[in-house]
Symmetry: C2
Subunit: 366 residues, 2 copies
Amino acid sequence: MSAVVPYENIERGADWLRGGPEGDVVISSRVRLARNLAGVSFPGRMSGAESTRLMRLAQQATLDIHPPVADGAQSLLPNKLHWVQMAELAALDRMLLVERHLVSKEHAKSDRVRALLLSLPDERHSIMVNEEDHLRMQCVMPGLALGQAWAAINDVDDQFEEQLDFAYLPRLGYLTACPTNVGCGARLSVMLHLPASRLSGELERVKRAAKDMNLTLRGFYGEGSDGAGDLYQISNQTTLGRSEEQLREMIELRVVPQIVAFERKVRDELLRQRSRYFEDQIFRSFGTLRSARLLTPEEAMAGLSLVRLGVVLGLITGLSTAAVTQLMLLCQPAHLQRLLHREMDQQARREARADLVRHRLVCCNW
Amino acid sequence: MSAVVPYENIERGADWLRGGPEGDVVISSRVRLARNLAGVSFPGRMSGAESTRLMRLAQQATLDIHPPVADGAQSLLPNKLHWVQMAELAALDRMLLVERHLVSKEHAKSDRVRALLLSLPDERHSIMVNEEDHLRMQCVMPGLALGQAWAAINDVDDQFEEQLDFAYLPRLGYLTACPTNVGCGARLSVMLHLPASRLSGELERVKRAAKDMNLTLRGFYGEGSDGAGDLYQISNQTTLGRSEEQLREMIELRVVPQIVAFERKVRDELLRQRSRYFEDQIFRSFGTLRSARLLTPEEAMAGLSLVRLGVVLGLITGLSTAAVTQLMLLCQPAHLQRLLHREMDQQARREARADLVRHRLVCCNW
């Protein structure tokens, strides 16, 4: 088993980076299930012995579901499922997993015995073991594909449920550490690229509309992040009292299509009504990214967001949206350091970020 | 005679745009003589009849010095001297002459009968007839070449003095409308490109040092302009009591070499001590100019200044300093309108300026 995301995968990228349905606006769809074992305390209050037991049970279940194959790795779907002991990873590699949305910040930093199950090279499936809940299973798909992500994670859930005794009450559903997750225990989220909505100042309206439907619109890295790169995740706040199907239909069939239609309308208006000004904004960002010798993460993300928009609108050619989305990830601190095989302070990262972005963008047309 | 600067000359540029000695810092050297005819009131207080008489005398002197040649034009040095009746020019063409430093703003706008004598295509010699003084003769040379400019304008002065009776008092020298010009009646000025001195915040020191020697450091377009493009003219404030030779030696052999040495030292320091930051500044400007779809004159000049510096320092290749200096001129309002053969409002000029600068810079290397 490989302990970390291999270098080739950083370059090649996870499946969700490739783009999918409604890819001009929707980056990815994600379903996360929270599950806990009956008779074992929640992680927040468990003893060391219980931690060890949980890890053993989870690892055994994984082995039972996916017996080792010839080359020593394990198979799940067409990909290999890797068991990663979090404590064995260098801090930089844990940060890398956070940047790739494979573990939470808490899971990266925690002192607990904890693990990550990760399917490679697609990175579609990941399971945090002993995070806030005993198991947090996640499936990510490219583009708008919540139904597909749901079916896939459901499959994984069923397989684990055959091996493990999940805490469940008929009246409440699955029990979870945080009451907002009780019920189906699912969080469904869709990552959106909304530069035009932000430029037009209409993002607050989108946020309010989401809130009215008990959904939240948050930045790329969840709560507290401020929409770097104009990337926003829309997701359900609670699960209690709603079936996963109701949630999925609401988000995938009603809410997201409305946001997508709105974003497209504003893009179209900007292009038709204020084309010079709008193109000026996009190409200046492109020019700065292609020329700068120092780049902060904020400036890189803001610039790449407008470049992505320029690619979608056909203003910038010779570049794919997938390449831009990937670059947004590659210019994050841990990724930069892994790509360059060395630890770097902030100033060195600004230099490396500028070099990386410039060299990746300089070959494409104006 | 052609009434205006021909289109080819706008593109080809005047001689001083080509660059000369100390061309990394010194753009051009200029000597201007103020002369008035004895027995004719100064322009500020002359009658209409006197204006007409002055014009007739000046035109006759020009014809006597330079009899018409075969093709109907007149010859002065290897170039043709053109008599331009200012009132016959469109406002745009008068503005063009101001932007090219061939006439003053006052001469462009005045209601008086007035003319310009201009050598084409080199634009080295120009004589404003009936500006603040009856004759203001100017010679401009590329780079640091005040002695050469002085010799050339002196030649023109001698030739006109053989034909005309200049107001002169042995005790004071040549009489002029403004007392600051009385004496040898000469203003010597050198145009400098001082981006590094400005970046390092040392420009005020240069200004104070100039003032202590009775010299002024002003922006590209004289008093009130604020050093657009980091272009500054250093010139003498008064002439009374000093010979032209003393003035020339002080400016050309003492003051300018000091400023040039200082500017070079700061450039070198910036490149050695803060190279990343410095290159970032230069390449960002370059990137913006190569990408923007809207450009204000201020932004264009500021950007081109750093690009010129980048070329001088070898950071930007495939581009000549002369091309950048020329572009600084071409992106001025009247030049843009003449290049595009139409009158344009501010917004249209910003578009045209961005297009021009982008297309001229996009072919060179990064």
